[in-house]
Symmetry: C2
Subunit: 476 residues, 2 copies
């Protein structure tokens, strides 16, 4: 499956193309790649420094039918940015220019390689921030966030990346540059191609510049940590908060298993019970909103609810912030099946978590759950001994059963990590054959030769290989 | 261009198909159809009552290559829902069932023929509302709002329809039923087909059911009317309010020309000056927010700022609410060139309105401007004597020049009325040839025979007729 990529040296400067094993292998993994994903190293890594570089590489790759997989920080969780069929890894991290900040319009223009933290640094002096950053925002790039429709803790109040993307410049699979969306805050002029690119995981076009909308930093920020007597009490409180219109900027759940792991990892002394972590943003009236939250939590029997101002909040939030590391470090003999990310309607939050934990318990496996509870977004891990193939297989089944159950509840196989390699098998179960066929046709409309990140998203790409067969009906 | 639609009588019940002139002609107009749009009456009007009816009609129409134009309330402004090439008008107003309200998830499932006001009535007892309703929301249907990505006065705080649509059921051009989106609040599972349908004006698929997200009614609502010494002072105040993060639910501008017309139409006694109309929604702290607004307006020299509670607000807002009628009734000898709807980045709001008024003044024409100022969305009319062809032609030129100038400022040819027939010529100027070619390819991916609302959106459809030629490149 390797491709001759020597042509790149004629197109880009020295230092913009790498063929070394070390560089190729560093582009064959992301935070969530599993062996079973059958990812491959690229044949070459290209480092474009401009839109023109991207266009040149794509035009040449298209002519030669060489796969091109956009890559940046590598913080994706489902193998989204690692090649299935070698070819070129298009590393966009050098396109990290903040082109312009327009505070009067609450806008910033950035290259795709700009980190989320760099966006916030660039606009801090104007009293602005970019609200939908994922938890990996300090390490993830804007291009990657667009490719995955990233979201995070603040999505419950502010929405996801698609809600904050105004305009993109992008390059087609054939190397043509276009813009989609508008710098106007709203437009009804033609198809919404900008939002179609959001979440398309680099399979439709390569984003080379983005205009993001910003929000004013709230005058008041306060946070809190609430300990509940049971998981049910905590999830009921979340559902009630959402239905009651509590104006909360973050509302995160950590279940009792995950709390125990946080206690062990951080040497904390929290009760091993389900907890909620909240944060409030307001210009006025934050104390009244927190009082409302307190009364709501009390009606669900909260045991303890501590609040703190912006400065002291870190200590309260510690157990939540380090959760992923606490889970992976819990027991040296156990590894999590790769991190799960499902979302259900918020009224089903308790039900899906109870199912996940019971399904684990049935097999004597630990399933810590945590996540962006206000959106119904649950992150979970099924822990198993990687040296025990039988237990690992059972853990994979439990993992999959939880995804399937979320879909049955009207939820989605992935709330924010995307499909990539890891969730392909669920796409049709979630959306049905007709919708997936339409997606295939959209893919072909943008990328007729299937050179852009081939092997992702679509279920018919077998894990063992083979480029996507776009099984299209005969045209009329 | 007429099509034999007799086959419909075999597919639908008596009373679900009409061939009478009266019914056909009532489906040949919307609120903004102009003679120059060359709209046609359909050959037949079909009234489906179920998703199965829609699927049956589309499958049969596709087989016969008969155009199908979805229609509902007819409140669109750019001829979006009136046929260009006769065929079938698919009237969805009978699919007006509220299927389910799920208050715990802030969700409602409705048919496409449900009115905006009916959505709000269905959820009022649960303390909820649907925020992005357009000004025509009492008369417009959910299907039409989705087709146009409607927005309105509350968009400045709550966003547009695309932000509140979770899932759709729709029927393809070939008669297959699919769902897109998710009942989960967020998903990254595959291409965002739901948001692609939003604003596609019935050219990609026919929406047969929608799951909308709802918001909790705020505990406090207050409004206000501010009179400014000049248009510049008013538009500067808007830009400053947005940049300062004023938490405003509505902020509407009426310029001095429009105020004079409101005074005449309603027998009001307001100063003939630029005005802003504001509304605030909050659970706590509304008085503080209004005080902040007042200090901000005072820094821009506001002459008068009256505020009122929810009950008394109607009187204050009267001049804004009746604006469109005030303009069209102002002078019996003058008619507005059809209502303009452009949006610019909010810092350019004053600049585009000054341009519009100056461009009118150059030709001795009145150009009243008003609209959703916080989004940079301007509605304008160029008034001319319809019996004076020369003046009417000049007015059309002024109208077009304003659209062109908005695009040059980084804005859009249409903020919320869509492209329909009236804005086709601007699509390529706004988005460029490559993006429009991608839109054409998306159209073909969904509707290879171009039966769904043909003649809309794409510039190459001449106003004199001819189905869309999908000028596609040869595939590799």
């Amino acid at each position: 499956m390797s491709h001759d990529c020597g042509f790149l040296t004629d197109l880009l400067d020295d230092g913009q193309v790498a063929f070394t094993d070390a560089t190729r292998e560093s582009h064959a993994v992301d935070w969530g790649t599993r062996e079973s994903d059958h990812a491959t190293a690229p044949d070459a890594v290209a480092f474009p420094e401009s839109t023109a570089d991207v266009a040149t590489v794509l035009a040449a790759a298209h002519e030669r039918e060489v796969p091109v997989t956009p890559y940046a920080a590598g913080t994706s969780m489902e193998g989204n940015a690692v090649p299935s069929f070698a070819g070129i890894s298009l590393d966009l991290t050098r396109m990290d220019t903040v082109h312009e900040v327009r505070p009067a319009d609450l806008q910033i223009d950035v290259g795709p390689g700009v980190l989320g933290s760099a966006v916030n640094e660039a606009v801090a002096d104007d009293g602005l921030f970019f609200p939908p950053l994922p938890s990996s925002g300090d390490l993830s790039t804007v291009g990657g966030m667009i490719a995955n429709d990233a979201s995070g803790m603040q999505t419950v109040k502010y929405g996801e990346v698609s809600d904050w993307l105004l305009e993109v410049e992008a390059v087609t699979a054939t190397g043509e540059v276009f813009t989609a969306g508008s710098k106007a805050k709203k437009t009804s002029a033609g198809y919404n191609l900008a939002d179609l690119l959001v979440g398309s995981e680099g399979t439709l076009a390569v984003v080379t510049r983005a205009t993001l909308e910003l929000a004013g930093r709230p005058a008041q920020i306060r946070g809190g940590r609430a300990v509940f007597p049971s998981l049910d009490a905590a999830t009921d409180a979340v559902a009630d908060a959402i239905q009651s219109g509590l104006d909360v900027a973050r509302i995160e759940l950590v279940d009792e298993t995950a709390t125990a792991m946080a206690n062990a990892y951080q040497g904390l002394d929290l009760p091993d019970s389900a907890m909620l972590f909240v944060e409030f943003h307001a210009n006025h009236g934050i104390d009244e909103e927190i009082a409302f939250c307190r009364s709501l939590f009390e009606s669900h029997g909260v045991d303890q609810f501590d609040t703190a101002g912006d400065e002291e909040m870190d200590a309260l939030w510690e157990a939540r912030e380090e959760m992923a590391f606490a889970v992976s470090s819990y027991d040296p003999d156990l590894s999590p099946v790769h991190p799960g990310d499902i979302t259900v309607p918020v009224s089903k939050l308790g039900k899906i978590i109870r199912y996940a934990k019971q399904r684990g318990a049935d097999e004597s496996l630990l399933v810590p759950c945590f996540g962006h509870a206000g959106d119904g977004n649950v992150h979970y891990s099924v822990l198993a001994d990687p040296d025990d193939p039988e237990q690992s297989a059972v853990a994979e089944t439990v993992y999959s059963d939880i995804v399937a159950r979320a879909i049955e509840m009207g939820g989605t196989a992935t709330g924010e990590h995307g499909v990539g390699l890891g969730k392909r098998e669920y796409l049709e179960r979630e959306h049905g054959a007709v919708a997936v066929q339409l997606m295939r046709q959209v893919k072909r409309a943008f990328d007729p030769s299937d050179i852009l990140n081939p092997g992702k998203l679509f279920p018919e790409t077998s894990k063992e290989g083979g480029r996507v067969t776009l099984d299209l009906p005969t045209e009329d």
